[in-house]
C-alpha cells in the first residue's frame, strides 16, 4: 500500500468508514512457480511434438503373437505388454515421472483403429525417407515456427498430420505396421458393414458436404471422467490377487446371464494382464531412476533419482501410502488410459477430493508441507500439458486445436450433500496460478454451498487471463444427471458425483469408499464410458441452407438431401422441413456411428479403463459390454446454434411477418452472398470484412434487413422464444435416437473448433453472416457484435430455457482486466458469475483481455469489434478510438498491472 492510500484509509476511518475492507485493495502477489517447474518448462518450450513407433511396434507384435486368443485377453496383453516394453525416460529435475512415450511430448499412431491415413501416405512417406536431407539452415529456420508443432519436414524429421515429427528411421516401421491393418482396422471393418445400408450414400453425402463432421472411431474414448479408485484402494499386486479370486469364482459360470455371463472369467484374465503391464511399466521407471543414480555425480540430483525409484517401485506393487505416491499412481493410470486409444477429453475429475485423504495424512504425520504439495501439483501440470493426441490432421487441428482437454473439476457436493471443497483444492488452484500451463484446465462446480473464500480464489485465477477456471452450475449438472441417467437407477448420491468430462461434457460419476488413514472417505470418480461419440458436430445453419435450396449444396453442386419440392408459405412449414432434413441426416449418421463404436468395442475394447471404471470390476464386464454403471451417455453434438436461431428470426420477421421480401428473394441473396465477394475469393474470413461485387446494390435492402433483424442476446423475446422452441423440440426428439448401448441420446452443445470449418462450407445465412465465415461460438454466446444491451441482457436471453435439459450450454464472455482489477474486481467478477448461476446458466468462461491483446487489436481492429475499454467514467469500443488514445490506454493498462 502506498502513502496516499494509507492516508485515505485514515481519513475515512476518522469518519467511521472502514475502507480497509472495502474497494480498491490490491490482491496479494502471486508467488513464482518452483525452480523445478521453471527448469522443466524450459525443456518443454524447446521440445517438439513427436510421434514414434515403439508402443505401436510392441502392440502390433503382441497382438499377432496372441492370434486366436479370446479378444479381451489378447487386447489386454497387447496394451499391457506394449507399456511394459516402453522405454522409461527420467529427467534430472522431475519428481513425478512417466509420459506417454519415451519422448517428453510424444504420441503415436493407432493403425489398428484407423490405418487408411497411413496406408494412403505409405508411398510418399517412403519417398521422403529416401530424399536427401535439407541443408542445416533450412532445417533451423523451420524449427521455430508454431511452438512445438512440426508443421513441415526438416532434416531427418518427417512431419505427419502437420503436427508430429517422426524420425526418418521409424517411417518404415510405421508403413509396415500399418500394412497389417489394411482392411481390418476399426475404420475399415465398420465401413464394410456400413456399406450394406441402403442409405450409405446419404451418409457419404452428409460427410462430403460437411453437414456432419468427423467419425466416432477417430477418438473412441475420452469426453468422460476417469476413476482412480481401484489402484488407490488396492494397489496393483492386490488387484492381481483379486483377479485370481474372481477367476476362481466366475470362470465357467454364467450366473443369470446367458449371453455375457461367461465373459466374466475372460474379463478377469484380461484385467490380470493389464494390471501386470501397468506394474511392470512403473517398475521400469524405478529401475531407470536407480540406473541414473549410479552414474550421477551431484548428490542432490542422485538423491532425487533414488526417491523417484522408491516411489515407482512402491507404486508398481503396493497401494499408495503418501500423497506423492497417490498422485504418481493417478498419473500412471491416466497415461495408461490415454495410451490405449486415440483420445481427447479424458478428464481427471475431482482430483482434489480423491487425493485429500492422502494429503491430510501426510500433513498430520508432518512429512510434507503445503509448499511441497504445491510444487508437486505444479509438476503435475507439466505432465498433463505434455499429453498429446495423435489423430488425423482434420481431427487434431480442425476439431481439437491441438488440445486434449484433460479437465480437472473442483467443488460441487460430496456424498453427504455438503460442500465438497477440500483444503487440497485450494492448493490445486494456487499451483495453477503460479505455474501457468494450458493443462489441466480447471472447472469449478459452482454450488450455493461452495465456500466464499474458495470462490474468491478461483475467481482470482480466472482473472489471470488463462481462460480458466470455467464455471459450471452444480445444481444444473445434478438435475441433468437425474434426468438422463434416472432410468438406469441414478439416485441423488450418484448425481452429486458428476463433473466435466472433456471440455464441457457433463459426465456421470459415483462415490467409492476409500479406506485410508483409519477411516472411509467417499471419493468421486467417473462411472460411464465416453459421453460423446454419438452423432458428431452437425451444422444447424447448413441444414437450414439446404431447406432453402431444396436439398442442393450450391457450393459443391451436389444434391445432399432428397429435394422436398415444396413451396414454403409459412414459417412453421419451413421449420418442419428443417426438422425433416435433420432427421434424415441423424438417422443414417447415428446408425453408422453406432456401427463404428460397436466394432471398436468388440475388437478394441478399453483395457486399462475397463479396470478402473465402476462397476466393471464388480460386474466382470468390460466397458464395451456395459460394464460401466451408467451407459446412456452417447450424445448428438450441435454446431452454430445462435447463427441458426438468428437466421430463423430474420426469416420469420422479414419474410413472414413484415413480408419485406419473399423467401425466394432471400435465398437468391444468400446464394449470391448478398452481392459481396465470398471469403473463398478474398481469402479473408473475418465476419466483418466485406468487399462488394458489381451486383452489390441489388441486395442492399435485403442485406440491411437481415443485419437489422432481431438478434439473440438482447433480451428480445421475439428471437429468444425461437431458441426456447428449438430446445423444447430437441428435448423430445433426440431420445428417439438410440445409441449402440441401446439408450436414448441427448443434446450436447459444444462446437470445440468446428464452427470454423462448418462455417467455411456454409453460404451466407439469413442473419447477415457472409459465406465461409465462422458460425457463432458457444451455444448461448451472442454472435459477435450483435449483443447491444450488455451482459445482463445476454444472461436473460440465455436462460429462456432450462439448461438441465442438455449435457451443457456454452457461454463465452470477454472482460477487460480494468473491470475486475483488485480485490473488489474479484468480487465483481464473482457477482457476475453468481448472477448467471442463480438464473440457471450451466456454464460461463471468461477471456480477461490484457494489453498484449490490445496491441494485437490495434493492428487488426476488425477482429476485435466487441472489445471495450473503460477510462475514467467513460466506456468506448476499442475500434472507435483513435490510435493516439489507444497507445495511451495500452501504456496505462500495463502500468496498472505493474
Amino acid at each position: 500500500m502506498n502513502d496516499a492510500q494509507s492516508k485515505i484509509y485514515d481519513i475515512l476511518k476518522a469518519r467511521g468508514i472502514d475502507a480497509e475492507n472495502a474497494d480498491g485493495i490490491k490482491e496479494e502477489d502471486i508467488p513464482e512457480a518452483s525452480e523445478r517447474f521453471s527448469k522443466l518448462m524450459e525443456i518443454y518450450y524447446s521440445m517438439k511434438v513427436t510421434a514414434d513407433m515403439e508402443i505401436p511396434y510392441w502392440y502390433n507384435r503382441l497382438w499377432w503373437e496372441n492370434d486366436g486368443d479370446i479378444l479381451e485377453v489378447r487386447r489386454a496383453r497387447a496394451v499391457g505388454g506394449a507399456y511394459a516394453h516402453s522405454t522409461p525416460t527420467v529427467l534430472p529435475y522431475e519428481k513425478l515421472v512417466m509420459s506417454k512415450t519415451k519422448n517428453f511430448r510424444g504420441a503415436f499412431p493407432f493403425p489398428w483403429v484407423c490405418a487408411s491415413f497411413f496406408n494412403s501416405l505409405a508411398e510418399s512417406l517412403m519417398n521422403e525417407v529416401d530424399a536427401p536431407a535439407e541443408s542445416e539452415a533450412d532445417a533451423v529456420s523451420v524449427v521455430g515456427a508454431g511452438g512445438g508443432n512440426v508443421t513441415e519436414s526438416y532434416g531427418d524429421i518427417i512431419s505427419i498430420a502437420k503436427k508430429f515429427g517422426m524420425r526418418k528411421e521409424e517411417i518404415p516401421v510405421l508403413v509396415k505396421v500399418s500394412k497389417y491393418w489394411e482392411g481390418i482396422s476399426v475404420e475399415d471393418i465398420s465401413d464394410k458393414y456400413a456399406q450394406m445400408l441402403p442409405d450409405y450414400d446419404q451418409f457419404k453425402r452428409n460427410m462430403d458436404a460437411v453437414v456432419v463432421m468427423f467419425d466416432s472411431f477417430a477418438i473412441p474414448q475420452g469426453r468422460e471422467v476417469i476413476n482412480y479408485y481401484m489402484p488407490l484402494q488396492y494397489g496393483f499386486d492386490r488387484i492381481i490377487q483379486l483377479c485370481d479370486e474372481k477367476i476362481n469364482e466366475t470362470m465357467g459360470e454364467a450366473g443369470e446371464d446367458g449371453i455375457l455371463g461367461m465373459s466374466r472369467g475372460y474379463y478377469y484374465a484380461a484385467m490380470k494382464e493389464i494390471t501386470a503391464g501397468l506394474s511392470k511399466w512403473c517398475d521400469n521407471y524405478g529401475k531407470r531412476a536407480e540406473d541414473l543414480a549410479t552414474r550421477e555425480p551431484d548428490e542432490e540430483v542422485r538423491a532425487n533419482y533414488l526417491e523417484i525409484a522408491q516411489v515407482m517401485h512402491n507404486v508398481a506393487h503396493k497401494r499408495p501410502s503418501t500423497f506423492r505416491e497417490a498422485l504418481q499412481m493417478t498419473l500412471c493410470c491416466h497415461l495408461g488410459v490415454v495410451n490405449e486409444d486415440p483420445q481427447s477429453g479424458q478428464s481427471i475429475g475431482r482430483l482434489g477430493q480423491v487425493l485429500q485423504p492422502f494429503y491430510e495424512k501426510d500433513m498430520e504425520d508432518g512429512i510434507t508441507t503445503d509448499e511441497e504439495v504445491i510444487e508437486l501439483l505444479e509438476l503435475y501440470r507439466i505432465k498433463i500439458t505434455c499429453i498429446e493426441c495423435f489423430a488425423s490432421a482434420g481431427v487434431s487441428g480442425g476439431v481439437l486445436s491441438g488440445n486434449t482437454f484433460n479437465n480437472l473439476s473442483l467443488g460441487g457436493q460430496n456424498y453427504d450433500g455438503l460442500s465438497a471443497v477440500t483444503p487440497l483444492e485450494y492448493l490445486i488452484v494456487e499451483a495453477a496460478m503460479r505455474a501457468k500451463t494450458p493443462q489441466p484446465t480447471l472447472s469449478v462446480l459452482y454450488d450455493e454451498k461452495t465456500p466464499e473464500d474458495f470462490l474468491m480464489k478461483a475467481a482470482a485465477c480466472t482473472k489471470l487471463g488463462m481462460g480458466f477456471p470455467a464455471w459450471m452450475n452444480n445444481q444444473t449438472g445434478m438435475n441433468f444427471m437425474l434426468r438422463q441417467y434416472g432410468a438406469e437407477g441414478m439416485d441423488l448420491y450418484d448425481a452429486r458425483a458428476w463433473c466435466l468430462g472433456g471440455c464441457l461434457e457433463s459426465a456421470p460419476g459415483c462415490f467409492m469408499p476409500l479406506d485410508y488413514n483409519g477411516k472411509v472417505t467417499m471419493i468421486p470418480g467417473g462411472a460411464s464410458p465416453t459421453c460423446g461419440t454419438g452423432i458428431h458436430f452437425t451444422g444447424l445453419p447448413k441444414i437450414l441452407e439446404l431447406v432453402l435450396t431444396n436439398g442442393l449444396d450450391k457450393r459443391t453442386g451436389k444434391q445432399v438431401f432428397p429435394p422436398h419440392n415444396e413451396k414454403i408459405d409459412t414459417y412453421e412449414q419451413m421449420v418442419d422441413l428443417w426438422k425433416k432434413y435433420l432427421d434424415i441426416s441423424n438417422r443414417i449418421v447415428n446408425r453408422i456411428n453406432n456401427m463404428q463404436m460397436d466394432i471398436w468395442r468388440k475388437y478394441n475394447m478399453p483395457a486399462v479403463n475397463s479396470l478402473l471404471k465402476p462397476d466393471c470390476f464388480a460386474k466382470g464386464q468390460h466397458i464395451g459390454n456395459c460394464g460401466s454403471r451408467y451407459n446412456a451417455c452417447i450424445n448428438f453434438e450441435s454446431c452454430g446454434t445462435i447463427t441458426f436461431i438468428n437466421s430463423l428470426a430474420s426469416i420469420k420477421k422479414n419474410v413472414f411477418d413484415d413480408r419485406a421480401f419473399t423467401l425466394e428473394e432471400m435465398t437468391e441473396a444468400l446464394v449470391n452472398n448478398f452481392g459481396f465477394k465470398t471469403a473463398y475469393e478474398t481469402n479473408v474470413f473475418s465476419p466483418d470484412f466485406r468487399e462488394s461485387t458489381e451486383s452489390a446494390s441489388k441486395y442492399d435492402r435485403i442485406f440491411a434487413a437481415c443485419i437489422h433483424a432481431p438478434k439473440y442476446g438482447n433480451a428480445d423475446s421475439y428471437v429468444d422464444s425461437l431458441l426456447k422452441d428449438y430446445h423444447m423440440f430437441m428435448l423430445h426428439y433426440l431420445p428417439t435416437l438410440r445409441s449402440y448401448y441401446g439408450k436414448p441420446e441427448y443434446l450436447c452443445q459444444i462446437s470445440v473448433s468446428t464452427h470454423g470449418p462448418q462455417g467455411f462450407v456454409t453460404l451466407a445465412t439469413p442473419d447477415g453472416r457472409l459465406a465461409g465465415t465462422t458460425y457463432s461460438d458457444g451455444s448461448v454466446s451472442a454472435a459477435a457484435g450483435t449483443d447491444k444491451n450488455g451482459i445482463y441482457a445476454i444472461f436473460e436471453s440465455a436462460t429462456v430455457y432450462d439448461h438441465s435439459q442438455n449435457q451443457n450450454a456454452q457461454m463465452n464472455l470477454k472482460l477487460h482486466p480494468s473491470a475486475v482489477k483488485g480485490l473488489s474486481g474479484t468480487r465483481k467478477l464473482l457477482d457476475v458469475i453468481r448472477a448467471y448461476m442463480r438464473k440457471g446458466g450451466f456454464h460461463v468462461q471468461f477471456n480477461v483481455v490484457g494489453s498484449d491483446t490490445l496491441k494485437e487489436a490495434q493492428k487488426e481492429p476488425d477482429k476485435y469489434r466487441d472489445l471495450m475499454v473503460r477510462v475514467a467514467g467513460f466506456t468506448q469500443y476499442w475500434c472507435e478510438i483513435g490510435k493516439p488514445i489507444q497507445d495511451e490506454v495500452i501504456y496505462r493498462t500495463e502500468y496498472d498491472q505493474a
Binding site: 485515505i8 474497494d23 480498491g24 466485406r690 446494390s697 442492399d700 447477415g768 445482463y792 457477482d831 448472477a835
Partner: protein, 333 residues
C-alpha cells in the same frame, strides 16, 4: 458541411437542449450493464439525454441533445464500392456520395430530422439514431431484471448528460427503485433549481457531483454556466440532513482547473460543508470521434493533458487537508 463554429455552446441551438414536451417519458441514450466504476458493486448505468452544461472537453457530447438525433460514424463505413443504401433511403436529399465513394451528410438538414429513414438501412450502423424513449415502467422493468445480476452491493446509477434535466421522469423511476429496494446512485452537475435538486436527491443513496472550477467566471467559460447555483445546492443538500454519501468530482484539465489555488478553494468549500471525499478524473480525449460524428469541432484536440506527476501533487494537497482524494477509477466504494 459541418458548421464552422468553434465553441460547442454556439454549435448548439436553444431548441436542441430544451426539455421537450413529453409526459414523463424518458429520453435515454444508453444503458450499460456491468458498470463497475460508478458506484458500489456491479451496476446498471442509465445515461439520460440532455445536459444544462456544455463543457468544452466533454467526452459524451451526444448526451447534450435531449431529443432523438443522428450520429454519423463516417470512419465505420466499410462498404465503399457502390453502396448507396443511405443515400437512397433519405427523403430529404441530405446524403451525397463523394468521389471517394464515401457518404457525406448535410448537418443543417439532418439535425432537424425526426424520421431517421437512413438509420435502419446501413449494415455497418454508420448512421445511427441516438436516444430512445422509455416509459418509466419500461425502465423499471429493466432495472428489476438487472437486480438479479448486481450482487449484494450494486444497483443503478443515473448518469448522462445530466439525469436531473428529466427530473419528472427520473423521480417516477426513483420512487419505484425505493419500492423495490434498489440501491441508487447519480452523477449530476447539480445545476438545477434547489427544490428540484433536493427532491431528486431524497431518493439517492450515493452521488457524484461535479465541481469543475471554483472560479465562477472560469466555470462559465468552460461550461457555459456559473458555479453559484451548484455550490449553494451542495450546501443546501448537506444542511438538509441528507443521509446519502457524496463524492465531489472534478475532471482535471491542464490550464483550466489544475492550479493549487483552485484546489485550496475547493478544500475550503468542502470543509465549510463537512465534505471529505473528492475524485479527480485525469483529462482524456476519448470523446474526440463523437464530436466528429456529430459534425462538431473539438476544441480540446491538442491541449489540456495532465501529467501523472501533477495529478499526484494535487492529490497530496487534498490529503494534507484531510480530504480523501481518489484519482481516476480508484474511488473507494
Amino acid at each position: 458541411m459541418p458548421p464552422a463554429a468553434h465553441s460547442p455552446v454556439k454549435n448548439m441551438k436553444a431548441e436542441d437542449i430544451r426539455k421537450p414536451d413529453m409526459e414523463k417519458k424518458g429520453l435515454i441514450f444508453d444503458i450499460q450493464a456491468f458498470s463497475v466504476h460508478d458506484g458500489p458493486g456491479c451496476r446498471t448505468n442509465v445515461f439520460l439525454a440532455g445536459c444544462p452544461l456544455q463543457c468544452k472537453w466533454c467526452a459524451n457530447p451526444e448526451s447534450w441533445i435531449c431529443k432523438k438525433h443522428l450520429m454519423f460514424a463516417e470512419k465505420m463505413c466499410k462498404y465503399d464500392h457502390g453502396c448507396r443504401a443511405c443515400k437512397d433511403a433519405c427523403p430529404y436529399g441530405s446524403i451525397v456520395i463523394t468521389e471517394s465513394e464515401k457518404p457525406r451528410i448535410n448537418w443543417e438538414i439532418c439535425k432537424n430530422c425526426r424520421t431517421f429513414e437512413c438509420t435502419g438501412v446501413c449494415p455497418n450502423n454508420v448512421l445511427k439514431q441516438c436516444v430512445k424513449e422509455y416509459e418509466p415502467e419500461e425502465l423499471v422493468s429493466i432495472l428489476r431484471r438487472d437486480f438479479n445480476n448486481w450482487g449484494a452491493e450494486g444497483g443503478v446509477t443515473f448518469s448522462g448528460g445530466d439525469p436531473m434535466l428529466q427530473h419528472e421522469f427520473l423521480i417516477e423511476v426513483l420512487k419505484d427503485c425505493r419500492k423495490w429496494n434498489i440501491h441508487t446512485a447519480i452523477e449530476t452537475s447539480a445545476y438545477f433549481p434547489e427544490e428540484i435538486f433536493l427532491q431528486v436527491m431524497e431518493y439517492i443513496h450515493f452521488a457524484f457531483i461535479d465541481v469543475k472550477n471554483m472560479d465562477s467566471i472560469a466555470h462559465e467559460m468552460g461550461t457555459g454556466v456559473g458555479n453559484e447555483r451548484i455550490l449553494s445546492n451542495i450546501s443546501a443538500l448537506k444542511a438538509s440532513g441528507w443521509k446519502g454519501r457524496l463524492v465531489l468530482r472534478q475532471p482535471t484539465i491542464s490550464g483550466y482547473n489544475d492550479s493549487d489555488e483552485n484546489a485550496r478553494q475547493l478544500i475550503a468549500f468542502m470543509q465549510e460543508n463537512d465534505l471529505f471525499e473528492v475524485n479527480l478524473l485525469k483529462f482524456h480525449r476519448l470523446g474526440t470521434t463523437k464530436w466528429e460524428q456529430l459534425g462538431k469541432t473539438y476544441e480540446y484536440s491538442d491541449h489540456g493533458d495532465m501529467s501523472d506527476q501533477r495529478m499526484k501533487e494535487l492529490q497530496n494537497i487534498y490529503l494534507k487537508a484531510n480530504i480523501a482524494c481518489y484519482i481516476g477509477d480508484d474511488t473507494l466504494f
